[in-house]
């Protein structure tokens, strides 16, 4: 029986509360914004680590982004991943989900045979939740989106997962290989393993691949490979509210508030 070959897709995203719109250029001002591993991707990694604890196997981290994300991938290896691959090339810039999923699929092709690709349900910056399903289509692989848990059935070489529905959930059985997107918060990511620190930051294999190295067709990347165009970005106008402050003792405030509320009951 083969050990589980797992790939965890990870995105390094700006902290949402620190991003502003440049009022003149109408572009996102990401300068001086700190980054973080997209939180649901940490849940996907934790799921992979617990499957590895239980069944053995190995975990490759796959990410796409500029070289500054490398230390984040090393953190993932400190947590227990075995290897990391970063797709980094100006040719990827401007990719929407169509082009991004193509590039990730080409990266996975280069990584080699896999049983499971695990992703966070969505990224906190793009929030499209469309990457896992698109990736599964490029890979011609089975998919389970919005998974709440996952069990590996080694004797059948299948997986079983609960996935979210609107107002409920369902239990799904899937063949392997499969792409699974993991709901944020389904598990508690483990602490960093300091015994792995030296290895993760000095020895662990971290490969950086450009578009040519993954054999990607340049026409399918970046703006030319994207189906969508961002026409403009703006900061959301806040709806003007009355901002009327109520004063007095708690009892007086409660009385005033009740008077204000009655027409809305």
């Amino acid at each position: 029986m083969n050990a589980l070959q797992m790939i965890v897709c990870m995105k390094v995203v700006p902290r949402p509360e620190e991003v502003k719109v440049d009022p003149v250029k109408h572009t996102l001002d990401r300068a001086n914004v700190r980054s973080v591993i997209n939180p649901p991707d940490m849940n996907a990694l934790e799921l992979a680590l617990s499957l590895k604890d239980q069944h053995g196997g190995n975990i490759t981290i796959l990410s796409m982004g500029p070289p500054f994300v490398e230390p984040y991938l090393r953190l993932a290896m400190m947590l227990g991943a075995d290897r990391a691959c970063l797709l980094s090339d100006m040719a990827f810039a401007g990719s929407d989900t169509l082009a991004t999923t193509y590039a990730l699929a080409k990266g996975i092709e280069k990584i080699g045979a896999y049983d499971l690709v695990l992703c966070g349900e969505e990224s906190s910056d793009g929030a499209t939740a469309q990457v896992p399903a698109g990736l599964a289509e490029w890979l011609d692989s089975s998919q389970i989106t919005f998974a709440l848990d996952l069990e590996y059935l080694p004797e059948k070489q299948e997986i079983q997962a609960r996935r979210e529905l609107r107002g409920g959930w369902e239990k799904v059985l899937s063949t392997l290989p499969a792409v699974v997107s993991v709901r944020g918060g389904i598990n508690q990511p483990r602490f960093l393993d300091y015994h792995r620190k030296t290895w993760a930051f000095e020895e662990a294999p971290l490969e950086v691949w450009n578009a040519a190295e993954i054999g990607a067709d340049l026409d399918l990347l970046g703006f030319s490979g994207s189906g969508t165009t961002v026409e403009g970005v703006r900061e959301m106008p806040h709806r003007e509210r009355r901002r009327e402050f109520l004063h007095g003792s708690p009892a007086e405030i409660a009385r005033q508030l009740a008077t204000h509320l009655r027409p809305h009951l």
Partner: protein, 327 residues
């Protein structure tokens, strides 16, 4: 040449999903503004009753793909069926609800069609151009603080998913005898289906997108949701919560409001112990009246509330419950 607006009519337990009806209302307005035809697409095992329900919503055509493998929903069967229908009918625009299954299908289908998909839209408009009708999709990002307009100019269909609760559902009309209903036969090979649904569970949670009044608890509630429930009963309101309250396990995820939870449009939202992070505020920005009770006068929620109370909620709520329950 592609033409027409197609709405994917998702259904569950023999009923059309509310988000599908909301889409039909907005899609009718877009179709009228651009002169496009409006088609509903139903994939299922027994589509006739669903088509009859859909016919009450002023569609030009209903396209049904019927096969036993299409219920319950699985990615492989529905992607095959939708792809077949779309290759035959080539709509200019395809709209889906941003439900778990709507997103599961849309993400896969967009790549199979090699087209552009705008996910989780909070607004849709249409523009007539030399290249035909172009869909202008509004999306919010970064916790709702930023919005962008996204188009898909050169590939077809132009695909978008729309989050539940964004558009008002249209009034159902009389059954539409003029609505033409077309059935498309397909074959689905069992070996092409890689997943199998073993069991399904639904809980009877209220749909907060429809709530008229909401009492919402945040960090400041410190787990005392019983007090909020008392207020909710007194106001005939539903209970909502911020992500912090859900993450603390004080209340179920079904109550979560905001960017990753429900986007609501109540007449009244009473936010208790809620700081007012952008990710949360997007969920109540369409409320008619927002009341904020928070003992931190610096809380950002006071910038976006109609009635502001900078007091301890545990002091205010018991008196308020008493006041509103008095005859």
């Amino acid at each position: 040449m592609t033409s027409g607006i197609c709405v994917y009519l998702e259904h569950e337990s023999g009923k059309l999903e509310s988000v599908s009806l909301e889409l039909l209302g907005q899609a009718r307005a877009l179709a009228d503004a651009s002169g496009e035809r409006l088609t509903g697409l139903i994939l299922g095992a027994n589509t006739a009753p669903l088509a009859a329900e859909a016919a009450r919503y002023n569609l030009d055509e209903i396209l049904c793909v019927e096969h036993p493998a299409l219920e319950p929903y699985t990615t492989d069967a529905s992607t095959q069926a939708a792809h077949r229908a779309l290759m035959k009918y080539t709509p200019n625009i395809l709209l889906l609800g941003a439900t778990p299954n709507g997103r599961d299908l849309a993400g896969r289908l967009a790549v199979r069609l090699r087209t552009g998909l705008t996910a989780d839209c909070t607004g849709l408009e249409i523009q007539s151009t030399d290249q035909g009708s172009i869909l202008l999709c509004e999306v919010t990002g970064f916790g709702g603080g930023i919005s962008a307009t996204i188009t898909c100019k050169t590939r077809r269909p132009q695909m978008a998913t729309v989050r539940p609760g964004v558009f008002l559902p249209p009034q159902a009309g009389a059954p539409g005898p003029k609505t033409c209903s077309t059935r498309l036969e397909i074959s689905i090979h069992p070996e092409s289906l890689r997943t199998q649904v073993l069991e399904r569970h639904f809980h009877l949670a209220g749909d907060l997108t429809r709530a008229k009044r909401l009492v919402i608890g945040g960090r400041g509630v410190q787990g005392e949701f019983e007090l909020l429930e008392k207020l909710a009963r007194a106001l005939d309101a539903e209970i909502g919560a911020t992500r912090v309250a859900v993450d603390h396990g004080w209340i179920s995820k079904e109550a979560m409001i905001g960017q990753t939870g429900y986007v609501t449009r109540p007449r009244l939202a009473v936010a208790c112990g809620v700081s007012g992070a952008l990710q949360f505020m997007v969920g109540i920005q369409n409320a008619e009246v927002v009341v904020a009770i928070n003992n931190d006068p610096e809380a950002p929620i006071f910038e976006q509330a109609d009635l502001c109370i900078t007091e301890d909620l545990f002091q205010i709520l018991p008196s308020l419950i008493e006041e509103v329950t008095q005859p």
